[in-house]
Amino acid sequence: MSKGKPPLNLIAGIVIISVICVLVMGAPVFTHYNPLEQYPEERLSTLSKAHLLGTDRFGRDIFSRTLYGGRTTLASSFLALVCSLVLGLLIGLTTGMFSGTIFDIIVMRIVDVLMAFPFMVLAMIITALFGTSLMHLLFVVAIIWWVPFARLTRSIVLQVKNETSVAAAKVLGANTRAIIFRELLPKVITPILILATFELGTLILSISALSFLGLGAQPPNPEWGSMLADGRAHFFQAPHVLLGPALFIVLTVLGLNFMGEGLRDYLDPYEIIKL
C-alpha cells in the first residue's frame, strides 16, 4: 500500500458527494418551498430566480422536489447497497472458507442461475406481476446485487487461505474466528469498498432508468426516479423538467465513480519502465 498524496479524482469525488449530501440532508435550509405544494399558475416555468430549477407540470418547485426526493433516492439506494454488501460479504466468506463442500457448490450454482437474469428483465417481470413501485425494485436489487460482492470476497478468500500468514496463524492456535477477523477481513475490506462505490453508482443509474420507464417509484412522491417519469411526457416542450433530477443523478454517480477510481489509484498504482 503506497501512501503518497491522495490523487485528484479521489478528492474531487469526496467533495462532490459531500456537497450533495449536505444539500439533500439540509433541504429545509436551502429551499423554502414544500415539495408537494402545487402552484398551477406557474406550471412548467423555466429556470428563474424564484424557482431555481423551474417547475413541473403541476407547478411544483423542482429544486425543492429534487432535494427532498434525494433523501428517498439516496437513502434507499444506500441501504439496499449496504444490505447487498453485507450479504455478499457473508456468502463470499463462507463459500471461500468452505470451498469445495456441498454448500459451496450449491451456492455457486445459485449464483450461475441468478446471473442468467439481467436486472432489467427480472425487474420487468416482478413489476409486471406484483405491481410497479420502488419497494419492488429494491426487492429485485436484494435478490441480485449481492453477487459481485460475493464473487470478489470468495476469490480473495480462496487466494489468502493458502498464504503464509494464514498458515502461521493456524499453527499458533488461532481459531477460525480469529483467522477471519485478523487475516482475511483486512485483505477483503479495501477491494470490497472500491467495488461498493462503483456498484452504488450502477445501482442508482439502474433504478433511475427503470423509474424513468415507469416501473419504479410512482408520483407524487418526490423521488428522482419518479420525477423523471413525470417529466418524460412533456420533455420536448419543457426539457428543463428533467434537468433537476438528471443533474443530481449524474453528479452523484460521477462523484462515486471519481471516488472509486481515486481509491483504486491511491492503493494500487502501476510502476512501469518508460519504453
Binding site: S165, A169, K170, V171, L172, G173, A174
Partner: protein, 526 residues
Amino acid sequence: MEDKTILHLQDLCVSYVQTGHEVSVLKNISFSLKEGEVLSLLGESGSGKSTIAKTITGLLPPSARIQSGTLTVAGHLCVNLTQRAILWNKIRGTVLGMVFQDAQLALNPLFTIKEHFREALITHKIGRASDVLPTAANLLKLLGFTEPGKVLSSYPFQLSGGMCQRVCIALTLCLRPSVLIADEPTSALDATSQKEVISLLKNVQRELGVAMLFITHDIAVANAVSNRVMVLNEGNIEEVGETQDVFSRPAAEYTQKLLAAHSIRTTVSAPQGLDAKPVIDVVDLNKAYSKNNSVIKDLCFSISEKEIIGVLGPSGCGKSTLAKCIAGIEPINSGEILYRGKNLVHLRGRMKRELCRHIQMIFQDARASLNPRYTAIQLVQEPLNYLNIGNKKSRKNKASTLLKQVGIDDAAKFRRPPQLSTGQCQRIAIARALTLDPKVLICDEAVSALDVCVQTQILELLVHLHMEYGFAILMISHDIRVLRYLCHRIAVMQCGAFCEIDSTDAVLSSGKSPHTKRLLECVYEM
C-alpha cells in the same frame, strides 16, 4: 595477447526516490570488463548489484535517478547515463544482452519459442528469414537440447524452469551481444538444474567468446564461474580482483565476513547424547492432492526429544507438505502422527489447538508470516492471546524476555514488520513460536530467503535456543550446507518418500542412494 576492455563503467551514482525522500543505491561505481572474461558481481540483497545491470541497459523504473555515470562499450559507443534521451535500442540486445532470474516469466506465455526467436532475429535484421530456425536450433543444441525442434514449437508453460532458462540464454545469445549480463540466473532453480545451467552457460560463454557479467549472492557459485569478482556492499565496491586472490586472501573486512559466514557451515556438528524416546512418530503417512497427485507415500520416521533432524530434497519432493502435515495445517489421507504417543490426526477444534501448541513452525517468508499491522511485541504475544494463556501482564513479560533472547532490542520492540529487516522478522517469528514452550520446532526453509550473513546468525541463534530450551528441530531445506551445520540426522527425500535417513556424517560422506549422490554433486565447494 592483449586483453581488450570491452565494457567500462565510470563513476556511476544512482538513487531511488521513495515517498518523498531520496535513497542512494549506488555510490561511485567504476569497473571494466575485458573481452571474453567473466566478472561476478557478488553481493547480498540491497547491495545494488541488480541496479547496475538495470542502469546499463536502461531498465530502471521511473522512480530512479542517475546522478552521474559514463558507459563505454568498446567499438560501439560512449554514453553519458545522465542524459534523458539515450538511444537504448542501439545498445540493448545486440551489444548488451540480459538474462533474468525467473526464466518462465521472462518469456511471453502466448508466444511459442519459435516466435520469440523469429521476432528477435528479424527485428535486428540478423540473417534471412529462412535462417531463423537453423540458427535457433544450433544455439539450443549448444545449450544441451537434444531435440531443438520440439522445444521450438512449445509454449513456455510446457517447459521446466531449467529448460526455460536455457532457452532464454539461447534467445539472448542469438543476437550476438558483446556482453551477456546474467542477473541471478539460477537463484530460482533447484540444485540439479542450477548445476546444469551454470555448466552449460560456462561452455557457451567460452565457445562464443562472450564477456559475461554474472550477478549472484552465492559465493560458491561466483567462485566456480568467474575469472574476476567484484564484491558489493550497500552500493559501494568493497573489493575487486581475480577470483582466487579475493577468496583466498580477502583484503576487505566485508569479504572476510562473507567468507566466514559461508565457511562456518562446512563443519559437521557433533552428535550429542540423545534421548531415545521419540517425541514425534510418523507412521505410514499418505497425502495426495487428488487421485493421481500423490505427494507423500507411506512415510515412516520418528524424531527423538531434543534431536535436530533435517529433510533434504529438491523443490516439489513433498518436504514442505510433510512439514505442514506434522504441524497440523494440512489434512492427511491416511496414517498416524503421534506426539508423545497421542495421535494428532483426528483431533479437531479445541483439543487440536491444545495439543498442536507443542509443535510450532517458522516459515520461509518471514515477512509474510507476520501481520504487518502489529508491533513486534504484540506479534510475539499473539499465540498467548489465541489460546488464552495468562493475563495481560504475564504475556507482555514473556514476550519481552523472548524478544531479548532472540536479539531484538528495546527500540525495535515497538516497530512493525515493514520497518524491520527480513532477519529481524525471522527472529520475531522464532520468538513467537517459542512463546508456547513447544517441544518440536519445524523450520520450513526458514533461512533460504535470507542473505548469507543473516543466515548464519539465525542458524547460530537456533543452536543457542536449542541448547537452552531443549526442543527438537525438524529442518526442511534444499541447501546441504545448512543441514550440514545444524543437524544430527539427515533424511533425503524424493518424490514423497525418504530414500535415505541416517546420521549427518553417514549421509554426506558416503551417501548410499544414487539420489543423494546426485544432490551432493550439485554443491559447489570453495
